[in-house]
């Protein structure tokens, strides 16, 4: 009889223990996913071509160069610098954000025609970034402590994680589900569920390339059936670890774009 118990124990525990060995906790996956998507390389420069397509198929273009610098290794505070080049009415405009993990982000906008450095309130992270279907939060990454993360399943390619906001009143979704690539840890698809249980907002990655050993999202889109239409992003000229100095993210370089990094 003892053997039966032993065999039963081994059979039962085996899949559990392998699951433990292979699948990290939901929080581990979320941290790795955020790091893979938003923290690779310590710093990065990228050119971003944004196409905003409305429900009637009309298209608007935004073209910008982004600099990003991590202030700590791994998940933590970051600084972002975005110089617009198209359309021409926003040319030379700069958006700068200091992403804080302990309080609201600090944001600035530089308007070249007025030589004006404007400080902007970061009260609502879920406001459209430059009129696109991406929110500010989608660009710099949502603070991982704002949600409960739950491991749903593991498929051949993905870890599936369901995230539910801790303060539901702050956001327009009830939860979102992420498909995180098991090898690169990049979230390849994120579906946002609305109040009626419908998926109304979908983030999906079309192309990933390995650049300087970092799996990097090249083409990604956000589709929003509630607003109608979608925004398509294309990243190019991606360069990691170029040694961007901290002082680049300051008023000095809002007024004078740091050409040495932006070229």
């Amino acid at each position: 009889m003892k053997y039966y118990f032993l065999i039963a124990f081994v059979l039962l525990s085996f899949p559990i223990s392998t699951a433990h060995a292979q699948a990290p906790s939901a929080m581990d996956i979320v941290v790795k996913a955020v790091e893979a998507m938003n923290y690779a390389g310590g710093d990065v420069k990228a050119r971003i071509d944004m196409r905003i397509i409305d429900s009637h198929g009309r298209e608007r273009i935004r073209q910008m160069t982004m600099l990003r610098r991590n202030e700590t290794s791994g998940y933590g505070p970051q600084k972002y610098y975005v110089l617009f080049s198209r359309p021409s009415d926003v040319k030379e405009m700069v958006f700068m954000a200091w992403k804080n993990t302990d309080r609201a982000d600090d944001r600035w906008l530089y308007l070249p025609a007025l030589d004006l450095v404007k400080r902007i309130a970061a009260s609502d992270e879920r406001t459209s970034f430059v009129g696109s279907h991406f929110f500010y939060e989608d660009v710099s990454g949502r603070n991982i402590d704002e949600d409960h993360h739950e491991f749903i399943e593991e498929t051949d390619e993905y870890y599936v994680i369901k995230s539910t906001p801790k303060t539901p009143g702050d956001v327009e979704f009830t939860n979102y589900t992420s498909w995180v690539d098991k090898t690169t840890y990049l979230p390849i698809r994120i579906e946002y569920t609305g109040q009626r249980g419908e998926v109304y907002r979908t983030f999906s990655v079309q192309t990933v390339e390995v650049i300087q050993n970092h799996p990097t999202i090249i083409d990604v889109q956000m589709e929003d059936t509630a607003m109608g239409g979608k925004t398509v992003l294309h990243y190019s000229a991606v360069k990691y670890s170029i040694g961007i100095k901290e002082n680049v993210f300051s008023e000095r370089f809002l007024r004078r774009p740091p050409r040495e990094y932006l070229r």
Partner: protein, 449 residues
């Protein structure tokens, strides 16, 4: 109505040429030497490097809803403006050029006048930027300069403003007039310092009656187009100069700054006792500001001590020294709806002397002038529609000024706009109320190039 016809004719010419925007762009694009840098790569589509010239054509038409003072036109605004801008990098130097070419049958004045603008050609940027050392940035030449924390209220920003443009409904970028100056910026670990030297006084493009009528206290009458203000502007190179400086640093999430200015009142603030011409008395300003996040919004405060010409206290022809203070708060109060509120104080410092020196029968100002502003900005339709209103109200002067504007981006290149400027108040002599005759509404269309 001559302006209408001229504008309509010009508009067709402009639209005809701008419709083929590629052709317009191609005309101003010149092949540059290095094809490897800055290739314009949109989804793999490569163009050769070009000298990038950009800008817009802006057509604006406005009508006066107030009464025309003698000689004033019923058309407040009627103009077509072409702005062309380019940035050129040569070795370690960056050259910035921007110029406006203006067809303005309302002003009907085409002689180039670099100081007052509003002429056929108005260069806005002709400057060079360079860094002589890694902690120094220089910008020398014609430039637009802004600092300070206020929203349409300027205490320590004593760089030239264009009030005519602001009151008539031109794009808000025209509130800032260009300045011919050298700016040196020094960056240290604990403190940054800007010093701006303007070798010849650059006055505001102030209200003188030619475009915007005003109430003249000296003559106790409104003055307009046919009877503009006569003035003596300090005009000597290196003698009538201006120095503006700012030292600033961040403390935590807050930005703090100290300011200094030495020059002249930027708009007329005095009168020549003999000739009656308006003057720009000497002025020094010492100030400070603070700005940072608070309660999910941005809060700011700024103060300045306006030290007027030495005999200001006793001379009724020179504006008094003042203490100015400003506090404001801005917050997104609903999705894409931002509200901001400000309080501003202007306090005469030598009030007893001012009262004693005032000629009998002259208009007497209160010691404190209070001003409250409220701004509401709503974005909608994927941020293509912007509705905004800005109201100045002075409880002490019992007057005010509302600006409202709706603008819609039809496409990335085309924007239409409508708005208005409404001054209100009971008395003729208070600051906003004196402009009541200039109340106007306007429409505009802007095509980016």
């Amino acid at each position: 109505m001559r302006e209408c016809l001229l504008l309509t004719a010009a508009w067709f010419v402009v639209v005809g040429s701008a419709a083929a925007s590629e052709a317009t762009e191609a005309a101003v694009m010149i092949q540059a030497a290095s094809p490897s840098n800055g290739t314009d790569e949109l989804y793999g589509e490569k163009k050769p490097t070009i000298i990038d010239v950009y800008g817009f054509i802006d057509t604006r038409f406005g009508v006066r809803t107030g009464n025309a003072v003698i000689g004033d036109k019923d058309i407040s605004l009627g103009e077509i403006r072409l702005q062309l801008e380019t940035k050129q990098y040569v070795s370690r130097f960056t050259f910035n050029f921007a110029a406006d070419f203006l067809f303005d049958p309302v002003a009907d004045r085409y002689a180039v006048d670099l100081a007052s603008g509003g002429s056929a050609i108005d260069p806005r940027l002709i400057n060079v930027e360079f860094s002589p050392a890694n902690f120094i940035d220089m910008k020398v030449g014609r430039q637009i300069l802004t600092w300070g924390t206020g929203d349409f209220i300027f205490i320590n920003d004593l760089f030239a403003k264009d009030w005519d443009s602001y009151f008539l409904g031109r794009d808000v970028e025209y509130l800032k007039a260009p300045v011919d100056a050298a700016k040196a910026s020094f960056f240290f670990d604990t403190l940054n310092i800007d010093v701006v030297y303007t070798p010849k006084f650059g006055a505001d493009r102030f209200v003188d009656g030619r475009r915007v009528s005003f109430f003249d206290r000296a003559t106790n009458a409104f003055r307009g187009r046919d009877d503009p203000l006569l003035f003596d502007r300090p005009n000597d190179w290196f003698e009538d100069d201006e120095v503006a400086a700012r030292a600033y640093r961040s403390i935590g999430a807050f930005e703090t700054a100290l300011y200094y200015y030495n020059g002249f009142w930027k708009s007329p603030a005095g009168q020549d006792a003999l000739g009656g011409r308006a003057t720009f008395p000497k002025l020094s300003v010492y100030g400070a500001s603070l700005r940072g996040p608070l309660a999910g919004g941005i809060v700011w405060a700024e103060a300045g001590y306006y030290d007027s010409a030495s005999d200001a206290a006793l001379d009724p022809h020179i504006r008094n020294s003042e203490l100015r203070f400003l506090a404001g708060f801005e917050k997104e109060i609903a999705t894409e709806l931002t509200a901001s509120i400000q309080y501003n104080l202007e306090r005469k410092l030598d009030y007893d002397d001012y009262l004693n020196a005032l000629p009998s029968g002259a208009i007497q100002d209160a010691q404190n002038k209070h001003l409250v502003t409220l701004r509401l900005t709503k974005l909608a339709l994927r941020q293509n529609l912007e509705l905004s209103t800005f109201n100045f109200y002075s409880p002490s002067d019992k007057d005010g000024y509302v600006r409202f504007n709706a603008s819609y981006k039809i496409s990335d290149e085309l924007r239409i706009e409508a708005g208005g400027n409404v001054f209100y108040g009971a008395e003729n002599q208070t600051f906003f109320s004196q402009f009541r005759n200039n109340n106007n509404i306007y429409v505009a269309i802007r095509r980016s190039l």
